[in-house]
Structure formats: structure tokens, C-alpha cells
């Protein structure tokens, strides 16, 4: 017994001494950061920790951050670009108390979880005025307070290759399920693969399914609220069964091995004229450009029923930036966020580097062809919001694989519909 206790004690002592000894080196840097707060401007260096969940326009971002550093002597911007596993990394940083001063998350359900750490922007009218009203809505918490600021609009729907449609003799965009099927037939007759749905990606299938949950009389939020309250059931949704018709089309008129198509492959096929239609959003612009800058592409609002007015293109500011309210350099963090989202440099990053329409008001020309195409629909008020960012946690993880199972023939439409209903667990 004695021996054991001794061993435990010694282990602990060893561990502690070893760790504290080694830890000394690391912590000096941090204390330097602390003192920087008190003596800002006196030449001490302040490090602003930024977490960015994108891998788009990295060069423009670096340029933008550099300019900020130049105009703020003594300030260093330390950015972690964690495009992969961004949730995991952010979660572990928040947990370990190493909360970045400025960070971004997906708006809606994901962002809500971080709002208890977020600075409340509600009263900062000067800043808020620089943004579009609708864009700001994506950063509100349950009480309507603005806890985060929007990045860019992202739009998703079907994307089609204009040249291939022309080649197949399709002059008018299909607006109903029947027309879509007819278009697929025509493309097929012309020897073109009509549909390249990235069915290997469960997130693509899941996003596709949200089109068929839309009800024009409610907005995306309305649909979610009704599903939450139980007033709306999947089996009663008027367009929902058409998702299966669309998946059937994707299998019938798609590549030989539909479930092996990933996002990269489907975008490559579209850009190179090997497939006519995919489901994706305008975030894929830079990838499409790198495949074929001359590809003639545009959005095809997704037909969901027999009614031509029901077609949906979904648009939302789905990334949102949060300032850590407990930041040691709160004012600087706020200034930096305002800078990247609204300044000219920041807009250059979004419009040029990323090629998307900023959530902030802007006069700058947007580079992305798809984003420009989508904004004509946005201006006509023909778009809907996103459901998948405000749906319950864990739901996507259930329905994506279920849709795959439908495509492989392992589940029937009825069973999948039931999975959707069971997966929608209100928290």
C-alpha cells in the first residue's frame, strides 16, 4: 500500500515539475501579450487571434491582414485558417480557453452555440448601418439581438451548363418536375450525361432535400418553426415526395456509378461539359474557374412541383463572424472585424478573392459569374432562405445517409420519409 501511494505521489511530482519547467518557455510570450494591453501604443506588440474557417481567397486575405498591421503599428494578426474540420478545431480552442478574438462559424444552429461568448452588436448603429438588413438577420439570437455579423451571400440550387442545354435543343429552363424530366430525356438523346449529383457527399443530398421542404407561403424559418412545433410533418409536405423523383432522375440520367461522384468530380464534369446539371452553390466558383474559366454556367432554380412558381433558389449569409466579448483587446477585435467585413480591402477580399456578394452594402463589382447570376434572382425576390443551417443538430447526419440508401435501393421512399421525421428532433 505504502509503495503504491509513494509511486503515485512521485509520478505526480515528476509530472508536475517536468511540465511546469517546460511550460515556462511558452508562458512568457503570453504575459507579453498581457502587458501589451496596458501599454498599447508604447511599442509593445499586441497579437490579435483570428480564426477563419475558409480556404477561399487566401492570398487576398493575407494582403488585407497585412494592410491592417501596417496601419496599426505594434499589432500582429495571427490567423488560423482551418477550412477542414473547422468545427472541431474551434470547439477545442473555445474549450481550452484559447478563444480567438475574432472567429467565424456557420450561421444559425451552429452559431447559436457560441453566442454566449459573443459580443452584442445590437447598439452599434454605426456599424450595423453598413450591412444589409436581411443579412443581419442571420446573426440574431433567440431574443433578436445581433450577436454576429454576416460574411457573404451564398446561393445554391441546380447549376447547369448553358452550352449543353443549347446543344440538346432546350430553349426554356425547366420549371416543373415534368419539364425537368423532359429536359433530361432531351440531354440523354443528345448523348449528354444530364445529371451529375454528388451523391457521395451526404451534405449535398441533404442540402438538395431542403428545396423540397420549402413552402412559398412560409419562409425557411417558418418551415423550421412548424416542423419544430409538430404542425408540419414530412409526409404532409406537398412537394417532399418529389425529392425521390429527382433522385430517380439523377440515377437514371447520371453517371454509371452515381454514388461515387464527389463534389470535385461533379464540378469537373460540369465545367468540362461532361454533365449538364449539378446541385451546388456559388462557393464552387473558384474551383469551376480553375477547371475551365470559359465554361458557360448559370443557376437553374430547382423545380420542386408541377407549379412553375414553386422553383427554388436558396440564398443566405451562411457564415457569420463573432467577436469574443471577453477579448483582452476587445476594441481592436471589433475594429478588425469591421475592417474585414466593410472596408474597401475587406470587400476586395470578398468580391474579388472569394467572388461572392458581401453581406455589407457595397458598390464593388463581384467577380463570380454565379454570384452575379444569383443576385438577379435575389433582387427579384425570388429566393428563399436556407433550412439546413437552422435545422436541429444531428439531423443532417441522419437524412443524408438515408437518401443514399434510397439511391442504392436499400430503403423505400416511405422509409426515408420516416427517417426524416424521426431525425428532426427538437432540442
Amino acid at each position: 500500500m505504502m509503495k503504491k501511494t509513494l509511486a503515485v505521489l512521485m509520478t505526480a511530482a515528476l509530472a508536475a515539475s517536468c511540465l511546469t519547467a517546460c511550460g515556462g518557455g511558452g508562458s512568457t510570450e503570453e504575459s507579453k501579450g498581457d502587458s501589451g494591453k496596458d501599454s498599447a501604443g508604447s511599442g509593445e506588440e499586441i497579437t490579435l487571434k483570428v480564426f477563419d474557417a475558409h480556404a477561399y481567397g487566401l492570398d487576398e486575405y493575407a494582403e488585407m491582414a497585412k494592410k491592417f498591421e501596417e496601419s496599426h503599428p505594434g499589432v500582429k494578426i495571427e490567423v488560423q485558417h482551418a477550412a477542414n474540420d473547422s468545427n472541431t478545431l474551434l470547439q477545442s480552442r473555445v474549450n481550452s480557453g484559447d478563444i480567438p478574438d475574432v472567429f467565424d462559424v456557420e450561421s444559425g444552429t451552429s452559431a447559436q452555440k457560441y453566442y454566449e461568448y459573443a459580443y452584442d452588436w445590437t447598439d452599434e448603429k454605426d456599424v450595423l448601418d453598413k450591412f444589409n438588413e436581411a443579412a443581419l438577420d442571420t446573426g440574431k439570437d433567440a431574443d433578436g439581438k445581433i450577436m454576429s455579423l454576416p460574411w457573404t451571400y451564398e446561393n445554391m440550387g441546380l447549376i447547369y451548363n448553358k452550352d449543353l442545354f443549347e446543344k440538346a435543343g432546350i430553349t426554356e429552363l425547366p420549371k416543373t418536375m415534368d419539364e425537368l424530366e423532359a429536359a433530361c430525356e432531351k440531354l440523354d438523346a443528345a448523348g449528354i450525361t444530364a445529371f451529375a449529383l454528388a451523391a457521395k457527399e451526404t451534405w449535398v443530398l441533404q442540402q438538395l432535400s431542403t428545396h423540397f421542404m420549402m413552402d412559398k407561403s412560409l419562409d425557411a424559418k417558418g418551415v423550421v418553426e412548424k416542423l419544430n412545433s409538430g404542425d408540419l410533418k414530412f409526409k404532409d409536405m406537398k412537394n417532399f415526395q418529389n425529392i425521390f423523383r429527382l433522385l430517380d432522375l439523377a440515377v437514371k440520367y447520371g453517371p454509371d456509378k452515381p454514388l461515387e461522384v464527389d463534389w470535385e468530380t461533379c464540378e469537373n464534369m460540369l465545367a468540362n461539359g461532361e454533365a449538364a446539371i449539378i446541385h451546388m452553390g456559388d462557393w464552387c466558383q473558384s474551383t469551376l474557374d480553375s477547371f475551365n474559366p470559359d465554361a458557360n454556367l448559370a443557376f437553374l432554380p430547382c423545380p420542386v412541383s408541377d407549379n412553375a412558381d414553386d422553383v427554388t433558389l436558396l440564398s443566405s449569409c451562411n457564415w457569420t463572424y463573432i467577436v469574443n466579448k471577453d477579448s483582452k483587446n476587445l476594441d481592436l477585435a471589433k475594429e478588425y472585424l469591421e475592417y474585414i467585413l466593410t472596408s474597401e480591402e475587406g470587400q476586395k477580399w470578398m468580391c474579388d478573392g472569394v467572388g461572392a456578394v458581401p453581406g455589407a452594402k457595397t458598390d464593388m463589382d463581384v467577380k463570380g459569374a454565379l454570384a452575379n447570376d444569383a443576385s438577379t434572382y435575389v433582387e427579384e425576390g425570388k429566393t428563399n432562405g436556407w433550412i439546413h443551417t437552422i435545422e436541429p443538430n444531428g439531423y443532417a447526419d441522419i437524412v443524408g445517409p438515408a437518401l443514399q440508401a434510397y439511391m442504392t435501393g436499400d430503403m423505400t421512399a416511405e422509409q426515408v420519409t420516416e427517417e426524416f421525421q424521426n431525425g428532426w428532433v427538437v432540442q
Binding site: 515528476l14 511540465l19 470547439q91 457521395k200 454514388l259 444531428g394 443514399q404 442504392t408
Partner: protein, 294 residues
């Protein structure tokens, strides 16, 4: 007198062993134990608020979590295939490589290459082997198997995972087996040969018993690797198609970071570790009993 000697022994023991233990405590044991605290909470992994739920998470695992048990079944099935195939193949390769001394260092490097390359690149390559690679082979050979949708069919996707992981890790076990084989004293083999044993008898009666330490290392590492299977699933199949290749580690990861049920995820990892411990202890006992002390 005796007590003093004991204290000295203990001190030497501490000097030799404790630094290593300290490193492991710090990087794994302590974080893992700290983590178990969350298994009795309902917590999303982010918020400052946690709700104490007692054993509810464990009850949920055993009563209301079909996916976890599906992933357990997948992991078990995978482990059996992986452990058998990878050990048989790597031992075969190692026997050849240990013999052919001149040409073997390049040959060994070849087998080791997939183990060196980052997994993102590996998955890119496999995507193309199964895609355009198989297409080309189908056109040349006309064999139907090259036309199957390997990643799009649940049953076949399982074998893709097995083949890919065996292919990737073979080099690791090969290196271990080679180290074991080379350590077998040449005199013993010569003696057996003089006694009239043929090559297969030498292998079975002399080499294999003497490399049992290497065998048990390889068995244990392959078994624990198989149980912890994660990277390939995360980067390559993403659990698909239709959740057919979800491993336990991947299920735990998704629970914690995608579904944000952190408490539940820790409860699962505890259940899982207990299970793995039981299996490995059995396995250790079995291989230990076969080892011969030299």
C-alpha cells in the same frame, strides 16, 4: 538493511520508468480521465452550461442508439479481416525481404511508401484507381469486377476499406517482422538444417516460435489499429454509402463534433475502451502463452 535496498531499488525504478510514464500521463491518460467526467452530463461541447444527467447517456447507448451498434459490428468485422490479412501478408513479405539482403532495402522502401505518404494524397489516388483506373482495366480485361461500383455498394465499400488499409499499413508490420526475423540466431537455423529439416519445417518449428515477440507486437498493434480505425473513414469513405462504413471512432467523433453531444460521445468512448481492453487482454494472454523465452 533490507528496507534501504528496497528504497534504492524503487528509486532506480522511478528513474527509469517515471519519465516515460509522465509523458504518457500528460498526453493521454490524464486527458482521457478528465474527459470521462463529461460522460454523466448533457453538454454540447461548447457552452459553459452543462446539465447533470447521471447514467442517462449510458442508458441511451444501450437502448436507443442503433448507429453505435452498427458501427461496432462494422468495426469488429473489419478487425477480423484486417488483422488476419495484414499479418499473413506482411509476414510473407518480411520472410522474403529478410532473406534477400542485397535487393531488399529498396524493396522494403517500396512496401513502406504508402505508410509515409499523407492520407489525403492516398485517398486521391484510390479515388482514381477505383474510377478511371478500373475503367481502363475493364476495357482491357472485360472482367465484370472492374465495372462494379466499389464505393457505391455497401458490401464492396467494406472491402475497399480493408484492402486500402492493408495496403497502406503493410510496411509497418513488415518492418517489425523483419526486425524479429533478423534477430533469430543463424546457428539455430543452420543446426535445424543439418538435422535434416526442410525450409518449411525450419519456418514452422524454429523461426515462427522465435519471432513470437514480433508476432505479438504486430497482433496487438494491428488489433488496436483496427479498433481505432478512423483516418481512412474520415478522409475517404466518410462512412458511406448509407452509413455502411462507419467505425466506432468515427461515430464517436461525429457525436462530439458534428452532432454536438459531447457528453454522449465520452460515454461511448468509455464503453468502447472497456470493450477494447477486454479483447486485448484476451489476445495478449493467448499470444504470451505461445512466446518462448530465448
Amino acid at each position: 538493511m533490507k528496507g534501504k535496498g528496497k528504497t534504492k531499488d524503487l528509486l532506480i525504478f522511478a528513474l527509469f520508468v517515471f519519465p516515460a510514464v509522465a509523458f504518457v500521463l500528460f498526453s493521454t491518460d490524464v486527458p482521457f480521465l478528465m474527459n470521462l467526467y463529461y460522460s454523466v452530463f448533457d453538454w454540447n461541447g461548447i457552452s459553459k452550461d452543462m446539465e447533470f444527467v447521471g447514467l442517462q447517456n449510458f442508458v441511451n447507448i444501450f437502448t436507443n442508439d442503433a448507429l453505435f451498434w452498427k458501427s461496432t459490428a462494422f468495426t469488429l468485422k473489419f478487425s477480423v479481416f484486417y488483422v488476419v490479412i495484414v499479418n499473413v501478408l506482411s509476414l510473407t513479405v518480411a520472410l522474403v525481404m529478410a532473406k534477400e539482403k542485397k535487393s531488399s532495402s529498396v524493396g522494403r522502401a517500396f512496401y513502406y511508401i504508402p505508410y509515409i505518404i499523407s492520407l489525403t494524397a492516398i485517398s486521391l489516388i484510390w479515388k482514381f484507381i477505383l474510377g478511371p483506373g478500373f475503367e481502363a482495366l475493364y476495357q482491357v480485361t472485360g472482367w465484370e469486377m472492374f465495372n462494379w461500383s466499389w464505393l457505391g455498394t455497401a458490401k464492396l465499400a467494406f472491402f475497399v476499406v480493408v484492402i486500402m488499409t492493408v495496403w497502406q499499413n503493410l510496411g509497418f508490420y513488415m518492418v517489425n517482422y523483419i526486425a524479429g526475423i533478423i534477430a533469430v540466431p543463424k546457428e539455430l537455423i543452420e543446426a535445424a538444417k543439418i538435422d535434416g529439416a526442410n525450409k518449411f519445417q525450419v519456418l514452422r518449428k524454429v523461426t515462427v516460435p522465435l519471432i513470437m515477440p514480433a508476432v505479438s507486437i504486430c497482433m496487438l498493434t494491428s488489433l488496436t489499429f483496427a479498433f481505432k480505425l478512423f483516418d481512412v473513414i474520415m478522409v475517404f469513405t466518410k462512412g458511406g454509402p448509407a452509413n455502411s462504413t462507419i467505425s466506432v471512432a468515427y461515430n464517436i467523433y461525429k457525436e462530439a463534433f458534428v452532432n454536438n453531444r459531447y457528453g454522449m460521445a465520452t460515454a461511448k468512448s468509455l464503453v468502447f475502451v472497456v470493450f477494447v481492453l477486454i479483447v486485448t487482454v484476451i489476445q495478449l494472454k493467448v499470444t504470451k502463452s505461445k512466446e518462448v523465452e530465448a
